[in-house]
C-alpha cells in the first residue's frame, strides 16, 4: 500500500500506520481523518450553529416587532339596523339613546349616559381558534370610552331623592358586557344594551367592535366594524 500523504510504500498488514509520516490507515485502506482535522471541522460546525442562532434571534425580533407595531386591519362600517359579522357572531346595532339621568344621584358631572341596544345572534360558521374578541368602545373622534360594567352602572343609576312623591329609578334591562358577546356558547338570539359615558356636548359618535387574531403570542387587530350613531333622547 502506498501512503496517501508521503508516498511511502508499506505493508498495511504489519503496520497500521505509515512508518514514514505516521498517517493512520483503516482496514479498507482509506486514509483516516486525523484528530486535528476532526476538531477543526467540529469548531466550524459550532460557529455555524452560533451564527444560525444569532440569525434566528434577529429574525424572531423583526417578526415580533412587525406583528406588534404594524397596525393593519380590515375596517368595515355598518348602519344601525344592519346585520354584520364579527368574532364569529352576527350583530345588529338597533339604536342609541341618551338615558334621562336627571333624577339619578350617581351621574358624573358634564357627562351623559348613552345606551346602545344590540342584538346578538350565532354566526354563520364556527369561530376560528385564533380569533379573539377585542374592545368595544364608543368614539366621537376625540375620545374613546369603553362600556360600563354592571357594578359601575349600578352606582351611576343609584336613585336620587324622590321628588313629588315619585321614586326616581331607571331599570337598565339586560346589560351587555364584552364577555356576554364573546361567550363561546351562543345558541339563540340575545338582546341587550351596552352603556357608555360621554361628554355632554357630544351629539354623534360611533360604536366599534374589534376582532383580534392570535399570532405568535400576540393579539393582532384583524377587523373593526364601526356603526355611526346619533343619539335619541330616551325615556326613563
Amino acid at each position: 500500500m502506498k501512503c496517501g500523504k508521503c508516498g511511502k510504500q508499506f505493508d498495511e498488514a504489519v503496520n497500521g500506520i505509515c512508518p514514514m509520516c505516521g498517517q493512520p490507515y483503516s482496514r479498507t485502506g482509506r486514509r483516516l481523518i486525523s484528530g486535528d482535522r476532526g476538531i477543526r471541522r467540529g469548531m466550524v460546525l459550532l460557529l455555524l450553529v452560533i451564527a444560525a442562532t444569532a440569525a434566528a434571534c434577529n429574525m424572531k425580533k423583526r417578526h415580533i416587532a412587525g406583528l406588534y407595531q404594524i397596525v393593519d386591519f380590515e375596517s368595515e362600517t355598518a348602519e344601525t339596523g344592519q346585520m354584520f359579522q364579527i368574532n364569529g357572531r352576527r350583530l345588529k346595532v338597533e339604536k342609541a339613546e341618551v338615558v334621562d339621568t336627571s333624577a339619578l344621584s350617581g351621574m358624573p358631572k358634564d357627562q351623559k349616559l348613552i345606551a346602545v341596544k344590540v342584538s346578538l345572534m350565532p354566526g354563520d360558521g364556527k369561530r376560528s381558534i385564533t380569533t379573539e374578541p377585542g374592545m368595544i368602545y364608543l368614539s366621537d373622534g376625540c375620545i374613546c370610552r369603553q362600556w360600563l360594567d354592571e357594578r359601575t352602572l349600578d352606582r351611576i343609576l343609584s336613585p336620587g331623592e324622590p321628588s313629588d312623591g315619585e321614586e326616581a329609578d331607571y331599570s337598565p334591562g339586560e346589560v351587555l358586557t364584552e364577555y356576554d358577546y364573546a361567550d363561546d356558547v351562543l345558541l339563540t338570539e340575545r338582546r341587550g344594551t351596552f352603556y357608555f359615558l360621554m361628554d355632554e356636548e357630544v351629539q354623534t359618535a360611533s360604536i366599534s367592535f374589534d376582532q383580534l387574531r392570535r399570532e405568535d403570542g400576540i393579539s393582532v387587530l384583524e377587523k373593526r366594524v364601526s356603526v355611526p350613531l346619533s343619539f335619541e333622547e330616551g325615556t326613563p
Binding site: L67, Q69, M135, C142, R155
Partner: protein, 161 residues
C-alpha cells in the same frame, strides 16, 4: 487518551449546541417583554398649548401648599394621539415630564379622583386617534416649555404658546 479527548470535545459541542437552544428560548421570552410594551412607542402625533383661566373642572393641584401658586398660570397642552401598536393603551395622567427654559421641573395638575371615578382613563385603541389634555402650572409670562414623553424614545418636545 485520544478517546478521552474525543469525548471531551463531544461534550463541549453538545453543551454549546444546547446553550444556543436555551439562549434562543430565553431571548424570545425577553423579546415579548421588551418589544411588546406600549411604553416603548410614542403615540404623540401633534400638540398645541394655550394658557387657560384657573384650574379646569376635574383637575387639582396635587400638593396644595407645597409650592406657591401665586403668579403661576395654567397651561393647557392638547395632544393628538394615535394608537400605533396592536394593544389598547389607557392614559390616566403623566404623559410627559415638563421643564422650563432653565431646566426647573414644572408641576402638572392631577386628576380629581372624585370627578373621574366612573370614567376610565382615556383609552386609545389600535389605529384610533384621540385628543388628550394635560395641564401644567407655569410661571406668568412663560412662552415655551420642554416636555419629555414617558413613552417612546423620550425625545424632547418644545411646546410653545
Amino acid at each position: 487518551m485520544k478517546n478521552r479527548a474525543k469525548i471531551v470535545f463531544l461534550i463541549f459541542y453538545v453543551v454549546v449546541i444546547c446553550g444556543c437552544g436555551v439562549f434562543y428560548l430565553a431571548y424570545g421570552r425577553r423579546l415579548y417583554r421588551n418589544i411588546c410594551t406600549p411604553q416603548a412607542y410614542s403615540p404623540i402625533t401633534g400638540y398645541s398649548a394655550e394658557i387657560v383661566d384657573g384650574i379646569p373642572e376635574g383637575y387639582e393641584y396635587g400638593v396644595p401648599g407645597y409650592k406657591a401658586t401665586d403668579g403661576m398660570k395654567v397651561m393647557e397642552i392638547t395632544y393628538k394621539l394615535r394608537g400605533v401598536v396592536n394593544e389598547p393603551i389607557e392614559f390616566t395622567g403623566g404623559l410627559c415630564d415638563y421643564y422650563d427654559a432653565d431646566g426647573e421641573c414644572l408641576d402638572a395638575l392631577d386628576r380629581d379622583p372624585a370627578y373621574w371615578a366612573y370614567i376610565d382613563g382615556t383609552v386609545l385603541p389600535p389605529g384610533e386617534n384621540v385628543i388628550y389634555r394635560e395641564y401644567v402650572l407655569v410661571p406668568e409670562g412663560t412662552e415655551s416649555i420642554r416636555a419629555y414623553p414617558s413613552m417612546g424614545e423620550n425625545e424632547e418636545l418644545l411646546i410653545e404658546l
